[in-house]
Symmetry: C7
Subunit: 93 residues, 7 copies
């Protein structure tokens, strides 16, 4: 298991399938999906007064992220995206 | 639904129509509209003392924004602009 | 109406006319006027301790500004200059 | 009158004349004078705790300034130099 | 012994062996392992209020790190990687 | 007299003479002396909490300074070096 | 004597000799030693709240330092390396 440090959030890209008339189409490469699922969340960043601020997202939530943020890491064959919480744009309900 | 994180604000470009003698003219491409409608507002940024500062704009308000700020995101077919609150210039009453 | 956000100030360029022997001369293009009239003032910036600091200029005042500061915005046909308060050099009494 | 904003100080270049055997010589262009007279002083900068720190120089004092600091502004025909207080090097007694 | 200073963490690269049908394969050079073992941990960084924040990792833990972070140091023939705590991505349980 | 502002220190280059067998040699131009004498000291910098921190050097002390720091100023024919206190490396006892 | 200012530490490069079969070999130029001996330590840096934080190293200790940090200074014929405490990587026990 990966336990992210600080204000980091570990994400897993979501397979985005589009169904047209029952035919499942893979997502268009040019229109890279911007959503991902939160797999693990760090304890948060430490403020200058020593307080820790817990991230605003929770495991299992789907988030929208900026196209160019994050670092890809590989762990046990799977590939994940690690981002700092501030690079998450929105929660998708 | 998109719930913006931190001090982010989600905007939707406003269709700007100009009517001249009853004829509706599309807005001039060279003079890109600088106003947009606030669609969703984050909880605000966290100060160094741990306090959260709510953004100064509200859902439904029309805002004036800097020409080059923000990131375009696509969600359910529609396209939105996500900006940090500090990149909003003014509220248009 | 435009309500500037944060520590922003909205300015309107002043027509600077020079009269020589009764003849009104337009201001010299090379010697661009550096003064403008304050049209609207934001609520001010938020300090790290959560306090809000109101800008030091008021609507109606004439200010001297740095030559290269500010962003031009268009609103209802008129053109304004939006600057952060820190880019205003002096109040002209 | 110009009332500088923030930690700004308005200076007026001093005519530096050198007398050699009774003949007044203009200051050498290559050895640009680095002193100026304080014409007006702002209220000072606001600290992160909300306190205002008054500048350490007063109207009428002569100051030594860094060769490349400041911005020239024109006001009522005269030309002034506006600098942030931190760019003043020393007071000349 | 090396006692890291500040928020530094000393790591030792882990030998990553892959066994395929009983044959031990060296890790692929192109897929550089991103995990390392924590060998020593500093006392942590000092906050602006004078408090010291102990790092979140402990000696003996395995951590995931960003591909390009850290500085290699040599000590008594062995080679170590020294990173600032903020460059550690996650703890691997 | 020059009264330095803020955390500035005014230095005067020291003539460094080397005596070899009674013969006084001028210091080697390639090995520029790195020591100077403190001529005047400012009141110090203002911390974010409003406190003023007096510089750690005193008039008359000899200091070691970084080769490339400081700005040369001319005053009454003499030439001085003005540095910020943080650019002084050590006091030479 | 040199008394370092602020959070500076003065180091002296250690002669690193390698003995192979009784023959003392000079250290390899390509593998520049990364350890040095602490010769003098400053009083430490001043925090934003006015507190002074004493450096974590003491005179006489051997430290490991980053390859490219520090500035060389010459004093009384000997050459020293002056580094800010934050550029020291570890204490070598």
């Amino acid at each position: 298991m990966l336990k992210p440090l600080g204000d980091r959030v570990i994400l897993q890209a979501q397979e985005e399938e589009t169904t047209v008339g029952g035919i499942v189409l893979a997502s268009n490469a040019q229109e890279k999906p911007q959503t991902a699922k939160v797999v693990a969340v760090g304890d948060g960043r430490v403020l200058d007064n020593g307080e820790k601020v817990a991230p605003s997202v929770k495991e299992g939530e789907t988030v929208l992220l900026d196209k160019y943020s994050g670092t890809e890491v590989k762990y046990e064959g799977a590939s994940y995206l690690v981002v700092h919480e501030k690079d998450l744009v929105a929660i998708v309900d």
